[in-house]
Symmetry: C2
Subunit: 241 residues, 2 copies
């Protein structure tokens, strides 16, 4: 399997460059990329934004929302890129288009899969480590299961702060760490939390954290531990489901 | 119906005092309160914390997790207090205990209902405006529907910030407003967003925002608008489902 999963949060030039470089290298000889814009409402606008921001790696993007037959589009794709937005809406549309099992089979057979943020969540066994608001009622949160562990995208350490004029006050809701420890209370895990800008690159039995940010690993019965940028995390691919 | 719904975020003395005052006044002659601690894993610890922090308004708390028969506990309660934590776990446990329809009927017939954070989400038609991680697979997100609109607790304006040493950088994920506008793309709404410390007090056909913070109203086809602390929001009780 060949998989590239970005955490999102491409708000700095360092992160954008790391993403463009990783994406370009990953695609190699691929000339056309099937784009899945379903996590946002405005599909045409999403395609335009990807082109304008230079997130196409110079390849042609064929958006699945313009395909007459989404299943045929998945069957014929050279590579697939699933964009960010709301993960619940993304999975809802993937379920309704009936392409989930086909996409899973094709990636297992070698189709390069690239996800950003919501697209990264979709690659996990379920979307139950998403940060997104559950705006769609789903019949199941089961997702592609391309990797045997959960990922939390846009991971942040410690409390959020809210700006009040020139001052910053901590947000009173749960920190991300509290939320992920709650997840482990109800589910076996493990969860790979990816800081903003971090990217997980999987090639067969090898997995590595690329880009800035690094990650943090949450596993039952073990204290959370930081994973440095560049670290080989192939051991995660052997996680039990 | 008599309902008191807090946004949570009781991290300042102003907010805690407002909550204690509203809760005390709301309870009136009620002597015992049925407490629902299911949103957290440690039920005994939750009861202890409520007592230690003075969130009992001097009343006896009977926790539903110690009841031999949860349905009987709901049937016999003088008032119910549903605490915060993870909303998905709360609804999961409420569904599994089979008390959702009974609780709905009793509150409709006059049982005073008090919710904080997750307990506030439970009072809505569904929990699909929660901020919490979906750590439990639910058969349905339908909740008590005590009010005919959605509430978003712990509402914050603008971006979150993350502290890096002495500096603050904006978080790259969605703002709460973006998430709520996404909700309206998929659902009719409206959504009453309650800032931290804000409380919604419903007495029959009257509803008012009490405590500090105030709210912000999200309705389809209208620009979001701020609702000041103290505002009469009875019009929301006439929202169409």
């Amino acid at each position: 399997m060949r998989i590239l999963l970005g955490s999102g949060g491409l708000s700095t030039e360092e992160r954008r460059k790391a993403w463009r470089d990783a994406f370009e290298t990953f695609l190699g000889k691929v000339e056309r990329v099937l784009f899945v814009p379903w996590a946002l409402e405005d599909h045409d606008g999403y395609v335009r934004m990807m082109v304008e921001r230079g997130f196409t790696a110079g390849r042609a993007l064929d958006s699945i929302h313009r395909a007459k037959d989404p299943k045929a589009a998945v069957r014929d794709a050279q590579a697939v890129l699933v964009g960010g937005g709301n993960t619940w809406r993304l999975l809802d549309r993937v379920q309704k288009a009936g392409v989930l099992p086909l996409l899973r089979r094709r990636v297992a057979a070698g189709l390069p899969y690239v996800g950003i943020s919501a697209g990264t969540n979709l690659a996990c066994p379920s979307i139950r480590t998403t940060n997104d608001m559950p705006i769609c009622e789903l019949r199941s949160t089961a997702a592609l299961g391309l990797v045997p562990f959960q990922i939390n995208a846009h991971f942040t350490d410690g409390a959020y702060f809210i700006r009040h004029g020139a001052r910053y006050r901590p947000y009173g809701g749960e920190t991300r760490e509290v939320r992920l420890l709650e997840f482990l209370e109800e589910n076996p895990g493990p969860v790979l939390a990816l800081r903003e800008g971090a990217i997980l690159h999987v090639e067969g039995a090898k997995a590595r954290l690329v880009g800035p940010g690094g990650g943090r690993l949450y596993a039952r019965g073990k204290p959370p531990r930081d994973l440095a940028p560049g670290l080989d995390v192939s051991f995660l691919l052997r996680a039990k489901r």
